[in-house]
Amino acid sequence: MINPEAKLSEKVFDQPEMAPTRDGFGKALLELGDKDSRVVVLCADLAESTRVLPFKEKYPERYIEIGVAEQNLATIAAGLANYGKIPFITSYATFSPGRNNEQIRTTISLNNVPVKIAGSHAGLSVGPDGATHQALEDIALMRVQPNMIVLSPCDVEEARKATLAAATHDSPVYIRLAREKTPQMTTADTPFEIGKAVGLWESPHRVQVAVFATGPLAYQALMAAKELEYEVPTVVYNLHTIKPLDREAIISAAQEAGAVVTVEEHQIAGGMGSAVAELLALECPVPVEFVGVHDLFGQSGKPEELLEHYGLNAAHIKEAIRKASARAVRS
């Protein structure tokens, strides 16, 4: 059953409202504009699609146009943050933190200045734009940099909260955003704290598999858990923070279940599943099934076609849960 503490939308299983996570980011920027005059927004010629246009219109003096120059996007922001501003930089994730990775490493992470990097259009669900624009390696790029916080919100409301939380954090932060509309699961009352996983689902029976999902696919994981309600008892966690991981929640859920499934719209190599597996190998070695992209680039198509082709939707997650259950270490 749904974890009541998650305060999920009442409509979560009944035609939930749909919105892209990037919308939540844009909404939060407007709130931040009012709240903190140090907040500035830098954009690499993608104001509308990264949802910073409303901020630009309301706070033109704090909107900084960079043009199609992502290396400069990072370095200008590093200077602004070094001076005392709280810069948010926006582009598509393939370009930032993709193209400008070294600038982020040296001038933001190693400098340890509080630049907030919003990588939009992450994952396969960018759809028709194809492989060049489908970031499947951004979590890996960001989580290996010391000082960097990595956030991957599951829906529009959580993206709003993640953005607000990023602004008040002293560290550099990466926020992973998606282009496509996805179900709105969480509400204003759903708890959000950086580094604290949110339990979405918990079977009243003895749990056999712990599912850790991140980003909008958390909804698919929830659907899979519900559909397997009477077959495999599970617990489902939304890991909106990939770095730092919620060690306690992950270890205790894995211990109790004896098997784990991770779910993400990202390469399996280096992503959230890898982070979870690194932790479990050390603290609680149990079998892990990874739902993610298997060392492939994406391609053009409708988001749902791509999730099906690359094995990322609820049906595939159910398969992974069954496999994990069969491999579980029972005490």
Binding site: Q71, N72, T75, A78, L80, K85, T107, N111
Partner: protein, 284 residues
């Protein structure tokens, strides 16, 4: 206005910085020689005349910011900072050693006063421009200087930042290019030609000045002119001699990335001390 007394003082500081650079490099056993030696005059001018700063309070909010983009010449900055009183001169001998605040390439978080972390080339100008823009948004009066190499102009990020600073008319920003014509693989014009550098910056909406970068009086005059330009950022193309001060290494690109041996250092130091005597007698 630079008086004769002040000029002599700055020249002697530059000479002292050069001695410290040689001592640091020979103690470290690795590092870059040509660039730091060539820029000693400019760093003496910055730390002992141009910058509005407080060595005892490196985080002072109203300080001028000096960004070093080409981090590999940092021995000249460490030496200048030590002579200016940021930290004890003896600490210079810890350069590049385990546990030292004086990392092989400068790290902001390890040593107060460095402003930024640098080494990977091409990213200093963007950071300087970001600071300049932030300062202007808040009506701050301090100035931002960015020391760069000529070789790093091969990097696209430099031109992205130059375009941005020109477009935003960041007149509180002054870039200084160490135009010593060498880079690791040889002469800049053979590796990847940069000329016409002046015309390139002018086309990017910068005010361009040129001077002899080993002539402190000429350099200070350019800095003063830059302060009087209100419509554009200014770049000073400072023509320097790599390895300046030691005849046998001057102009030789092979001294870009290696330190002197102890025997060479002994010879170089004695040559520098002769130079010191010359400066003292010249101004008498």
């Amino acid at each position: 206005m630079l008086t004769q007394e002040k000029l002599q003082e700055l020249e002697l500081k530059a000479e002292a910085i050069r001695e410290t650079i040689i001592e640091m490099l020979v103690a470290a056993g690795s590092g870059h020689t040509a660039g730091p030696m060539g820029m000693a005059d400019i760093f003496a001018a910055f730390y002992f005349y141009i910058l509005n700063h407080d060595p005892k309070n490196p985080a002072w909010e109203e300080r001028d910011r000096l960004i070093l983009s080409n981090g590999h010449i940092v021995p000249v900055r460490y030496a200048a900072m030590a002579h200016a009183g940021y930290f004890p001169l003896e600490e210079c001998l810890t350069l590049r050693k385990f546990g030292s605040r004086l990392q092989g390439h400068p790290e902001r978080l390890r040593l107060p006063g460095l402003e930024t972390t640098s080494g990977p080339l091409g990213s200093g100008l963007g950071q300087a421009a970001g600071m300049a823009l932030g300062a202007r948004m808040d009506g701050k009066k301090f100035r931002i200087y960015c020391a760069m190499s000529d070789g790093e102009h091969d990097a696209g990020n430099v031109w992205e930042s130059a375009m941005f600073a020109g477009a935003n008319k960041l007149s509180n920003l002054t870039a200084v290019i160490d135009r010593n014509n060498i880079q690791i693989n040889g002469m800049t014009e053979n590796v990847m030609p940069l000329e016409n550098l002046r015309a390139k910056y002018e086309a990017f909406n910068w005010h361009v000045l040129e001077c002899d970068g080993n002539n402190i009086a000429a350099f200070v005059e350019m800095i003063d002119e830059a302060k009087a330009i209100f419509e554009k950022p200014t770049v000073i193309i400072a023509h320097t001699i790599p390895g300046k001060g030691i005849k046998e290494i001057e102009f030789d690109y092979q001294w870009h990335g290696k330190p002197p041996t102890p025997e060479e250092a002994k010879k170089f130091l004695s040559e520098l001390r002769t130079l010191k005597g010359k400066i003292e007698s010249e101004h008498q």
